[in-house]
Symmetry: C2
């Protein structure tokens, strides 16, 4: 534990405890992280973050997703600053809204149109409203434990919600085709949408690719019922395929929800959809004071441009693969078995025989002490700013971390030999 009594982080936590419930709220609460992790940050640049005590870390979270080009990408920031010097929140949108909608329509395979919000939760909620308005039906099939946001209808914690908030959720298990079929049979007459993440990426659980047969079945059932297939791309967007994460499968969603990375850290969300749902999208009323903010949209246009020009996905794949292979080698050499899962662009490292994440916690705490900011239970995120040299530097930290896990928990010789 490095944040001693007199660190700035500790002092800020003490002040925060008085004026913020629990000292912090939401997914960035440091209490959810191993000891030694800072709560408060001073700055970020490229693939590095600096905490308020001046400690610099090689970052593998991208602020839980948004900074896919790296913190403060110069070209994005220049575009944002140019618009900020003119105005942000005005009496209507700027031309950037049209520009960005056009770029999304050009880039995202299924998209005939786009509309904009601020939070990922806004985007999933708006998509569901559009599906309900279009169909006049109520039910939404979702995978149990899939994260679709933190509004009452979808937050993973029931406190403060009512049964009615979730009355029309029909839960299935991700990739379970029989379960999907039987849920569909129960509610098909009232089915508005099937809402699904492109792959399974739940907190603390191995990521799973989507079974293509499951994805195809979702598409077929939506077609049969006239329901909307809503793809939740909030976390995956711009990382798997710029045309949409199910493009490689050849499966077209009717609506997609985007946020996090689409403006490289500037607050923005979007829903893209097909022509058949355009009318329904005009009939719902959702809005927000800042949804037309010009700066985030200028940043979004720059982000898409850079992503296309620089081959973002291929880069993430390359550095992600290097990280995965390096970790696999270290895992074997230290005799500390891990399960690496998910697309290499969104790595998750879980330890074998680690039900309480004690190994993962020690591993991350040690890696942090050696300069790499990892997460023990949530998938991590690579960025365009990560170079192969950065990956190698991070691997130097994880090598020490594996050694610490081996020293504390022993080498898993039997398992290695099995």
């Amino acid at each position: 534990m490095t944040t001693g009594e007199r660190s700035r982080d500790a002092a800020l936590r003490e002040r925060a405890r008085r004026v913020v419930p629990g000292g912090m709220t939401g997914h960035l609460h440091a209490a959810l992280l191993p000891p030694g992790y800072p709560q408060f940050f001073a700055s970020g640049s490229g693939c590095r973050v600096v905490d308020v005590d001046g400690r610099e870390f090689l970052d593998f979270m991208c602020a839980w997703g948004p900074n896919v080009l790296g913190y403060r990408h110069p070209e994005v920031e220049a575009a944002a600053a140019r618009q900020q010097a003119l105005g942000d929140c005005l009496n209507g949108p700027s031309p950037w809204m049209v520009e960005l909608a056009e770029r999304l329509v050009d880039t995202v395979a299924h998209a005939d149109w786009a509309m904009f919000q601020k939070n990922g939760t806004d985007a999933t909620t708006v998509a569901l409203m559009i599906a309900r308005a279009a169909t006049g039906r109520r039910k939404v099939i979702v995978a149990r434990r899939s994260y679709h946001g933190a509004a009452p209808w979808c937050t993973p914690v029931p406190a403060g919600t009512t049964a009615e908030d979730r009355a029309h959720r029909v839960e299935i298990t991700y990739n379970d085709i029989d379960g999907l079929e039987s849920a569909f049979e129960r509610v098909s007459g009232d089915l508005a949408a099937i809402l699904v993440t492109p792959h399974r990426h739940e907190l603390g659980t191995e990521q799973q690719p989507v079974d293509p047969a499951f994805a195809r079945r979702i598409r077929a059932l939506c077609d049969r019922a006239g329901a909307a297939l809503v793809l939740d791309e909030v976390r995956t967007g711009l990382r798997i395929d710029l045309a949409g994460s199910w493009k490689p499968l050849g499966i077209r969603p009717d609506l997609s929800a985007w946020s996090k990375a689409i403006a490289n850290g500037h607050a923005l969300a979007a829903v893209t959809g097909i022509d058949a749902l355009r009318d329904a999208a005009t009939r719902i009323f959702t809005t927000g004071s800042f949804w037309c903010g010009a700066v985030a949209m200028a940043a979004g246009v720059a982000t898409l441009e850079i992503a296309l020009r620089e081959g973002l996905v291929a880069h993430l794949d390359r550095v992600g693969r290097r990280l995965r292979e390096g970790l696999a080698t270290q895992s074997a050499s230290h005799g500390v078995p891990v399960r690496q899962s998910g697309p290499v662009q969104m790595p998750l490292v879980l330890f074998e025989d680690d039900p309480d994440f004690a190994k993962g916690t020690l591993f991350c705490a040690e890696a942090l002490a050696h300069g790499a900011y990892l997460h023990p239970r949530h998938n991590m995120f690579l960025s365009l700013a990560h170079t192969e040299a950065d990956i190698d530097r991070a691997l130097a930290a994880t090598d020490r971390a594996f050694a610490a896990v081996a020293a504390r928990f022993g080498r898993a010789v039997a398992r290695q030999e099995a």
Copy 2:
């Protein structure tokens, strides 16, 4: 109608029609405004906005509320730019979160703590979740037609929502104490909250001050039931009283929802609350990718500082009063009776005998043609950037607009003599 075929605005609308449902969504849709109003904006500065065709307007909307210090207030923008140069969306909050929470606790009379979001709707939703978590109850009493956001539980348009989204809303009429009492009797055993705006400010309806007896009754009923009094300050915040809009009445809310003006146009929302609700606020789980963004919080601290230092509310009152008096004089001299309502900081001008807003529409279209951007049905907003000279310039435009209304609809001689 000044946006001809070849204007930039018309060209952007044409492009937008292809890639955005309805060409635009939400409350900034120009279709909701009189002819001649631009849809797209290039810039804003002080109390002026410039559309994409280079037309400059004296603005009385502040982007529907946010820019309470004027567009691009230099000190706010400098604070934002300094933080933007360090980083915005990081792996945790910056020290600005603590600083801003402390300032809110110091400034807002009832506040023992604060937590932050992005949209006004986030703030009202989070407040309701806290009330439900604290009480273990479900019902919320709201005034019919009061706007509390655009999520399924509160959007004014039912398309895309389900009956269950609104199952626990109990609607009363604003300022109707008997109706409040009888609603309370029906649901008191299950009452989580009474959610109310500081005064009545519904679209297209005269604003009404809160009846102090109504406000006191709400407080008393919440106390009796152990329910939370939630004040929706999203629109009023920083305009009526920096300590909270019911501070002058001596009535303390348990929770307040803030957004719009609190960071002078930077996307931010907040909930403030009392100690007794602190624990409940830690038990709900709501969050957003950008909720800890450091830039908006730095802007928020600067905004509060300037508001206190410059006597923001007194300024808004002074220029608002000048506008109201000027309009009253013009109304009388042109023989065109109007009803002006609301706090002078948030003016609303409705015309007598104008059920379809034809007079209001002509009035605003004419004022716009002479350089003043008004709204015929929504309350308007003054800012710190409005000088007395700006008000006088706007009054020159409204004088022409009154003349146009008198010319088209005639002088209301009878009414004037009555």
